[in-house]
Symmetry: D2
Subunit: 404 residues, 4 copies
């Protein structure tokens, strides 16, 4: 760039697969559409394989490369560490980064175990006292339609919430010949659909309601228990764990293909959740519906620019029952959250925009000295629910969600 | 009618509220569009209050009136008893009618208790040996889109079923001032949303999959625990228990407002069910989705002329992945179940048509000497699931569904 | 029926094909759900072929049969003549019936020519002075969602109307082997898609806006100019002209397969119309959208229980722009037009219900001494537009719609 | 960037308003997701006001600034001129750039007059002989769903095309107080809705069919003939001409608010077009439907990640009529056009992605020595149709579209 753009925020990103690509796009783009107090600089990308990391850095636009994440903690030009590596590495990296005074953006799930998540929360709270900020990457909160839904709930537009109904449905492993990628291995991924996509709907449900789940009843299922071992392949598609080809040899799937659970919220709502990779034809269908005493809201990530809102007020309460109906709000108006920085009404945003919004909010929080949300504590609250789900699925009984 | 229309089938109907109106329309209409081996005759309507029953008979087109259902059993001009009275009366009437050699059409749920349902099945099986037929009124099976869905499942179009996802959502008691009508009283209704609408989705799930639920995990909730006692009002709206006005005095709601449960099918599918009267904005949203190894199906009773079908076959298997997508089948083609007797393509059918189809199938089965479906045994299978749901909701644990 | 139901209204119906079946169902059903001042009696069905007419009468529930429509005019037990025969017979029958003092319900289009239509209007106006009523059967006006749309327009909910956008799309003759049935012959049908389905959208547009078209610019097209001559087949499907099989011999199609036209309304709105039988996959897609200065309305007959309404008011005007969106009103509430007589909310109505509503309104108008709408004059207004469309399509120039 | 990324392609962009922002995002992003033979370099941004252009360059990521577009033609580091200035400047800039040996990407419409457009085509054809490439920016062709639609048409999946039905509906000037911005002034914008958005649907219709319009019949309307003169405001919103505030003084609107036209294609299809800024509630609803002898396609830019496809083949032809229905293809599969470079299935793309795809194709064409499409000749073909529309709207008669 020819011209100085104010104080920079040096970013070091660990990992460069699916999430790394999404985060890179966000870091590159945020300042091009939004006014930021600090300008993100794509300072360093970190990956264990120097050649691959170098190629990724060139492709994604990072200035330099490291092969050991610890190197990021000692670099003066890195102010923030962005953790995009698999879940089993989150705790170690994030805690060390925070202790080194680096702000941290950590991909979800916060960790693979509750113990790790608790340690991360402790580290984040300690660091916050020094002005070091942390955020967990539940990016769907920053889809404009989701943020608008939260605004409407806060305004009391749907009243007291009775029902939450959430599904996250995909179908990428319906084929029994789809190989045993790392996302299907407990050692790397922690769990299957539950931690990968179930985590998103738990976070979104708690975010939208402003409430927490207190207990669950669950079942999990692995429909295909043996799969071909994966062939070695190259490129981001491979590392994403979402596309691959298999070999003749087979291995055991030790994570859930689907997790279903019922739940109760502290303030009285009841809920139904379903996370599955076997919903043939549903590609990335994160759906959530809230029914309240005055109205309802419904969202589907496959139509992420739309929010459905039902105004159920009686005529006495200002409603118009004769014309009541779920309205399809195209969430592309300048008054809608985040939208004003982008295009005119009716011009859609895509998947990666939520990551850009995440960066925008994080950089503003850092610049203006606020603690970002979702915090690590929010991330822990999700882990506690997932943990209860697994326990309930094992025991066949209702399981209370542990306190933080 | 001026002209003889062949052998008649004399019908005696017990009850004349919401279901009575729907059944009357079906008996009047079936022979006008379909060729039937016997012509239904609206012989006698039975209701305890002679004046009201007489008015209803005149309105709905019945030839005569009785005030005691036992009188129907001795009339030679009654060949079939149609039981549309509340659930707590079903067993006594249906069993007596079968023993008297009358065919029986019994509204759902089959009974309010499993014991009653078992006795009814025994009576039905005994009667069947004498050529006396019985059917339980899960009318939604005869919505053309639902029948088409079953046909596609039978043809293997969606392969092995992995997921069933069913909701029946209404919102007619969201207002806390809605009074304590009989449908909200355990003594008359047996249960709340569970038996009223939950029964439908259990039956539909078992019908569409051709499989049975073996276990469940459930929660039930009563959001509004006290409601105004109902004012005395007249007319069918009142007797339907769906519309009413209240008094100043309050009473206790002792049925569920919502019932949510997870389940497992014998052949391996997992399922999520939700029946609620608190889904603000959802009026009669009976929804079901099935995901299988080769495709998916989705249905919504609020768009009952449509069936969504996803053909998920690979190219090797004859599929065309590039154009895969949920297709909105407008189920109004002459080749679709029941449709040929009605209107040209694109001309919709309504709620009551399923009742007409029910009568058509029943009369044909009687005329041609077949046992109709859904049988009382099918009705019992639903009751056993509902019973397990209630037990699981009480215990907080997984509950096996009892054998018939 | 065993019981007297008040004063009867004897109906004589001419024709018994598709429309005859729909009208019969309406006459049979109206009094079963609605309170009527007179009870329709299915007195006599008239058809030229005694055997076929007799079979139809038995099937559809008519008491007696005539083979010459003139016989109806002299029967004392016939108070109303229902004209369901092809368009080229309407004028003669309707005028004679009115002159004989019979009320007339005449299927649309009112006539095949403007001259005939004018004569019918004159006869209707003369008869009206004697209390003899007439109505033309634009039944779609009585779909509850359409009637609700009109109510909202009248209430000013969409403000000043700018745009009307209407299509009536079918696809039943896409196959070039579909035979040359009477609906594809100018001598019997008058025109093709234009008069059959284009007439409906012209009437609906004029009805919903409360305005009249003053000029049009049109094109018409016949994609398949030769078709197999039809085989002789039996049954209602054949007589509907909608389904048939062909022979080896071919004949010339002399009507339009599709008619497209632009128009201007007296009060300033502009409009686009399209009627076609070649919209592959669209079965009975009568769609209309109105855009006004304060809001919009959209309707699709393939989802006839729904009305889409967009409230476009500014915040100053009582609107809520942040939640603005097309709302899907499920037009099944008791406060919606006609709905209160039927089922609870969310229970759909079908195609034939609009015919029942037509009968209800007509019988009430007769009983209460009002002139029904749509009047023959309304029917003429449609014919004048269709006439201008044909002239414009021939001349390639803008064509004014003639005054009545 | 730390690392060399191969041969660069220096870009000079003229204009920096709405289109400038979209193009900048495309130039920045294309190489981050796609493999390109040349790496775009955001070399210089050109704007008349040095301060504003400088601020824009910093914001959007351009290296340097010029205030006279002629300066770009002499810079060695500029290989391509990207013309994003208003339509009345296109011809002069584009022709000069081509003559200077610079590749040209020119925003649509190609020009404000047919004469200008013809001169541009001549310049482009001459330049092409020297390997200098040109493209007109009908970016919607590169929405994946649109490109997939074209692929399906080319494969014969919908057979012979009968109908094209296209609307481009917006509502941003419904309010009469919306001021007289440059887009509402003939001198700057050439026309109103017609040239701005009508041009898009004409191009898309010709692209998808692979056919050309030969004649049209049109009407245009200006609903609000006087509007407040605009207040001076700053920023991209102002320069986009899409948002503004007004003053007390009024001026005359001399462009169309809406343009409607019928058309005929060379190969026999008939068409209906509508471009309007008065479709209340429709924000950016570019819709197109094609009906063919074997199937249909439908697209709506407000749901731009979806394509609806109806497979209308008979059973003899490999179809399955019983399950025929419009299928909602979520155009997010790796095998769909452009999608493989982005995210996993079900993860949506947004408005600006089409601009990125435009850059990708253009850069590849340049690198690989091909003439890009849409060519200036394609752009001229659109202008000729728009010209015929205006003539027909004036004359009230059918208007042939001129030959190129």
């Amino acid at each position: 760039m020819s011209t100085p753009r104010g104080i920079q925020l040096g970013v070091g990103m660990v990992g460069y697969a699916f999430m790394g690509a999404a985060h890179s796009q966000a870091w590159r783009t945020a300042g091009r559409f939004f006014d930021l107090p600090l300008q993100p600089d794509l300072t360093v990308l970190c990956g264990r394989d120097a050649a691959k990391a170098g190629a990724a850095a060139e492709k994604l636009g990072w200035r330099s490369v490291e092969t050991d994440w610890r190197a990021l903690l000692t670099r003066d030009d890195v102010a923030l560490v962005d953790v995009c590596s698999p879940g089993d590495t989150h705790a170690e990296i994030a805690i060390a980064a925070l202790e080194a005074g680096k702000h941290v953006l950590c991909e979800k799930p916060l960790a693979n175990t509750v113990d790790e998540a608790r340690a991360m929360v402790a580290a984040a709270e300690k660091a916050a006292t020094q002005g070091v900020r942390s955020m967990v990457g539940y990016s769907y909160r920053r889809v404009p339609a989701v943020a608008l839904a939260r605004r409407l709930v806060e305004q009391g537009r749907i009243g007291e919430i009775r029902h939450v109904r959430a599904q996250y449905m995909q179908d990428w492993i319906v084929d029994p010949e789809f190989p045993l990628v790392w996302r299907l291995q407990r050692s790397a991924a922690g769990s299957g659909a539950l931690g990968d996509i179930g985590a998103h709907i738990v976070d979104m449900a708690q975010y939208l309601t402003g409430d927490v789940l207190t207990g669950v009843s669950a079942l999990t299922e692995t429909f295909i228990r043996e799969r071909p071992l994966p062939a070695k392949i190259e490129g981001p598609a491979a590392s994403s764990g979402l596309a691959a080809s298999g070999t003749a040899e087979k291995g055991t799937v030790d994570v859930d293909d689907a997790a279903l659970f019922l739940g109760r919220f502290a303030e009285g709502a009841v809920a139904s959740f379903e996370a599955t990779r076997f919903a043939t034809g549903r590609k990335n269908a994160l759906r959530i519906e809230l029914n309240g005493s005055r109205g309802s809201l419904a969202f589907d990530q496959e139509r992420m620019n739309e929010l459905e809102f039902y105004d159920g007020r009686s005529a006495d309460d200002g409603g118009d029952p004769d014309t009541a109906g779920f309205r399809r709000i195209l969430v592309t108006e300048p008054t809608h959250p985040y939208v004003g920085a982008w295009w005119p009404p009716g011009h859609l945003l895509g998947y990666e925009h939520a990551f850009t919004h995440q960066v925008v909010d994080l950089v503003r929080d850092i610049g203006e000295g606020r603690d970002p949300v979702p915090s690590f504590a929010d991330g822990l609250r999700v882990q506690l629910v997932l943990d209860a789900v697994e326990k309930s699925a094992s025991s066949g009984s209702w399981q209370k969600v542990a306190e933080e």
